[in-house]
């Protein structure tokens, strides 16, 4: 069954192991982020949101990149499984992108008193990307299943990763005439403990995303296998 024969080494690790490790790491991250890490002198306790918000954003980018890589493989190698892997990766990316917007909005409210700030380049970029990738799903599900849908989805996914740096540049340029930059936020000056906490959080969120990705893939492959079985039996 061509839909269930992965040959990369990571996909041989069983899903429960990944999920268990992710759960343990996320638990550790929460303790580190909320208790162990020292409180930031400027921003106070709301700075702790940063320990999850930034890893979630980075993971979303990684998911979109992973989806684009699988999309390239769809067009290049033409094996059936890549289309599903690309779709699931982009699905995860969109979910984590939405989470980025949600946590970013809460952070904006906590730091600057507004639920939305156009000054935060990262938030604006994610809004544009969220719109772009939401359209991915509308496009994908308005096309009949088959090679055409695979190709179109793959090309669109590739456009997405091209859009990321271009949009980022655009948003930087737009600052000059849309909003004067009133907040120059350099990354927080992190002490050693803070940096360690950040890294653990990043690792745990990435592993969580990978676990969710594998679980979703499992579910979708089960679905398609069952469908084949049903056709064979009826």
């Amino acid at each position: 069954m061509s839909t269930s024969s992965p040959n990369s080494s990571a996909s041989k690790i069983p899903v429960p192991a990944i999920a268990a490790t992710a759960a343990a790491l996320v638990g550790l991250s929460i303790v580190l982020a909320l208790v162990v890490a020292p409180e930031d002198a400027d921003q106070g306790i709301s700075q702790r949101i940063f320990y999850f918000h930034v890893p979630i954003a980075l993971t979303a980018y990684a998911a979109f990149g992973w989806g684009a890589w699988k999309a390239l493989l769809v067009l290049w190698k033409r094996e059936e499984r890549y289309d599903l892997e690309s779709y699931v990766a982009i699905h995860q990316g969109t979910i984590f992108g939405a989470l980025t917007l949600a946590t970013g909005s809460i952070w904006a409210k906590a730091s600057w008193g507004h639920w939305w700030v156009w000054d935060s380049n990262q938030l604006v970029l994610f809004l544009v990307l969220f719109l772009f990738y939401s359209a991915y799903f509308m496009l994908r599900f308005s096309i009949e299943e088959g090679p055409r849908r695979e190709n179109v989805s793959a090309v669109y996914a590739l456009f997405g990763v091209a859009l990321i740096p271009v949009s980022f540049l655009a948003i930087r340029l737009a600052e000059d005439f849309i909003h004067p930059t009133t907040f120059t936020r350099d990354g927080p000056q992190m002490t050693g403990t803070m940096f360690f906490t950040f890294c653990v959080c990043w690792l745990s969120i990435s592993l969580l995303a990978y676990a969710l990705y594998r679980v979703e893939l499992l579910g979708k492959r089960l679905d398609s296998n069952l469908r084949e079985l049903r056709e064979a039996l009826t």
């Binding site: 999850f52 989470l99 079985l229």
Partner: protein, 51 residues
């Protein structure tokens, strides 16, 4: 709880709830898959008893 603490709780809470919602969706999917495999097992049984 100070307002800063409330926001931190809200941010972490959103992430937690999202993962939980995911679990719920998977649970529903599992239930459906269980139903479908039971149906297919029934079909296979009928096939092998009549074939």
């Amino acid at each position: 709880m100070s307002s800063g603490e409330k926001y931190v709780a809200a941010a972490y809470g959103v992430v937690f709830v999202t993962v939980l919602v995911y679990v719920v969706i998977i649970a529903a999917k599992l239930a459906r898959l269980e139903r479908e495999t039971a149906e297919l097992a029934e079909l296979a049984r009928k096939r092998s008893s009549s074939g």
